[in-house]
């Protein structure tokens, strides 16, 4: 055994994670995405509802760095001239007469940062009547870049909340079933199986149908979170239950009883922490499921409703061949869904490599 190998094995899980460059890259992508979603008000040039029907499906604006003489200039954009062709189809032509310099920390649509701090300063933008559409516009002339950044708030947070709720339920139910065993175990596991028996997507649709149409957007958001987590906990509970069955036989559980702890406290404080390395991996690998499920619901129009943006309902505009043909940029939200899901999976796999001894990759063989 070389000295190197010894040093690799003596590292703890997170040190080993750091060595996995691909996973660290994905982690930074996610940090970037979540950061952007959090600061959406500041980063996006427009509010998610700022629409201008004159710019319906307007193509992406290209930012100019050189003037007509080829000299380097402060970045600016040209305005658009709108025309209608012989089929009365709307077209856009660059209007070189109109120039709008890019402005940093400019005044834009008002917002309330984190829900209570009012502000109007946005990272970049252009003076009206210029319209900065770096990734194009949707059917109602809303800036797709802004909508994607705002949509990230819903799409990215729904995974976290969903996982939080379903893992709380799953860990608790699995812990109780495994710790008590016997009849409690039987009943809880049969309930889990009943939930797992129904195909997930249909259960999702059925539960969504039960949510009143009169709900406002916040209520819809939380009902979607709750529906998603209601479906997600059962599989986890079964695995945790299996682990707890063996953990409860260990002597420190008896020692905890001797200490006078109640059963629930023993489950939460002494038994469940032993499932942590599995749970962390499972959390990472199941977040994409929630993001995809929300996107699927929103894509078919049952999720987040216009004017609120989520990557799923942004993508629902791209359901016709005409739209994709004439405005391919409306597929961009799909790229973000893909990116996020891939990053979570890569990180989950990397965590499994470094936390789970059964899947440990021998690095210096």
């Amino acid at each position: 055994m070389s000295k190197d190998q010894y040093s690799v094995q003596s590292q703890n899980g997170f040190q080993r994670f750091r060595k996995n460059g691909w996973a660290v890259f994905c982690l930074s992508v996610l940090v970037l995405l979540y950061g952007a979603a959090l600061l959406a008000d500041f980063i996006s040039p427009y509010s998610y509802q700022n629409e201008d029907r004159n710019y319906s499906y307007c193509p992406p604006t290209s930012i100019q760095f050189h003037d007509e003489q080829g000299r380097l200039r402060w970045p600016y954009i040209y305005g658009f001239k709108i025309y209608f062709d012989e089929y009365h189809k709307r077209g856009y032509e660059i209007n070189r007469e109109e120039k709008y310099p890019l402005k940093l920390f400019t005044r834009g649509d008002p917002y309330k940062f984190l829900g209570f701090l009012p502000g109007t300063i946005r990272l970049f933008g252009v003076e009206r009547p210029g319209r900065l559409l770096i990734w194009g516009a949707d059917s109602r002339g809303r800036d797709l870049f802004s909508r994607i950044v705002y949509g990230g708030r819903i799409s990215l947070s729904i995974g976290l909340f969903g996982v939080f709720i379903s893992f709380s339920i799953g860990l608790l139910v699995g812990g109780i079933a495994g710790y008590y065993g016997g009849r409690v175990d039987d009943i809880l596991m049969r309930i889990c199986e009943m939930i797992m028996m129904i195909p997930g997507f249909y259960l999702l649709l059925a539960l969504r149908a039960m949510v009143p149409a009169s709900f406002n957007s916040v209520q819809v958001y939380f009902s979607i979170v709750i529906i998603l987590s209601f479906i997600g906990w059962a599989g986890l509970a079964r695995i945790i239950r299996g682990m707890c069955l063996s953990i409860r036989e260990r002597e420190f559980v008896l020692a905890a009883k001797v200490m006078g702890l109640s059963d629930l406290k023993i489950i939460v404080r002494h038994v469940l922490p032993h499932t942590l390395s599995y749970s962390i991996i499972a959390i990472m690998l199941s977040i994409p499921g929630y993001i995809l499920a929300e996107s699927a619901l929103s894509l078919i129009g049952l999720g987040i409703q216009d004017p609120y943006a989520s990557w799923g309902n942004l993508l629902s505009e791209a359901m016709g061949i005409i739209q994709i043909h004439f405005a391919p940029w409306i597929l961009l939200p799909g790229l973000f869904i893909f990116l996020t899901v891939m990053c979570f999976n890569v990180i989950g796999d990397a965590l499994r490599d470094c936390l789970d001894p059964r899947f440990r990759v021998e690095e210096n063989l």
């Binding site: 009883k257 001797v258 200490m259 002494h270 922490p273 032993h274 942590l276």
Partner: protein, 257 residues
């Protein structure tokens, strides 16, 4: 009388029917005494110890008898009150602290846990108490040990920490289940001296479960010899060890020589 066990019978349910594990065992533990429960493997001594905690493994049932602790019958108390007794007034030291400590938490945290549930001390007071407890069991660097995980400590240190945990809430009775049998001889000797010091200093009442008569000789005031779930002989330590009446006790003593 602190602890009084009267005609305690415990049976195990097996496919062949009920098998007696503990058979009409009676003995008493006086305050500030060390009582040794002696016997070979399978003599029912650990089961008796766990019965006092009312923590028998599933499948084991108490069929008759009573266990009085401070005049109250533990076997008829509601669960909540038994839970307050455990760790608060009756504590337990295990044979192998490596398994009895939860491997994922620091030792100090686990000692603190007893204080959290059985005392109303503030965070700072508890911290000081943990340090004090670790000093009492003669650990030289209490803060460093408190910050360690169980697997990072040596067997002797672990057993001391376990003892500190048991003493945390000032229990009236400590049940020690083979506290020295997993330690090597030199460490055993030091733990024994510690037990003796603690007995003199803090007037511990100890129910010592062991098969090691050397330990019994050194520490205990009263001896109860168990064999096959029955009490074969009991009496003051000096009497039983010097002038054993029963052949079983004699064999045990023979083995020591």
């Amino acid at each position: 009388m602190l602890l009084e066990i009267q005609k305690l019978s415990i049976v195990a349910k097996t496919e062949q029917g009920e098998k007696p594990i503990v058979d009409r065992v009676s003995f008493q533990v006086q305050e500030r005494n060390i009582v040794a429960l002696v016997g070979g493997s399978g003599s029912g001594k650990t089961t008796t110890g766990l019965a006092v905690m009312r923590l028998l493994a599933p499948g084991l049932n108490i069929v008759s008898g009573s266990i009085y602790f401070n005049g109250k019958n533990i076997l008829t108390l509601p669960e909540q009150q038994v839970r307050d007794l455990r760790g608060g007034q009756i504590a337990m030291v295990f044979q192998e602290p490596l398994y009895a400590f939860n491997p994922v938490f620091r030792v100090g945290y686990q000692i603190d846990e007893v204080l959290r549930f059985h005392t109303s001390l503030t965070v700072l007071q508890r911290q000081r108490r943990v340090e004090e407890l670790l000093r009492q069991v003669e650990i030289k660097e209490p803060m460093r040990i408190a910050q360690s995980y169980p697997h990072q400590l040596s067997g002797g240190l672990r057993q001391r920490a376990m003892l500190a945990q048991a003493m945390a809430a000032n229990p009236q009775l400590i049940i020690a289940d083979e506290p020295t049998s997993n330690l090597d001889v030199t460490v055993q000797a030091r733990i024994l001296t510690l037990f003796k010091k603690l007995r003199d200093e803090f007037r511990l009442t100890l129910l010592l479960i062991t098969h090691d008569l050397g330990l019994v000789q050194y520490l205990s005031d009263h001896v109860v010899v168990l064999s096959g779930g029955k009490v074969v002989e009991q009496g003051p330590a000096s009497d039983v060890l010097q002038r054993p009446q029963e052949p079983y006790t004699q064999t045990l003593l023979e083995a020591l020589k």
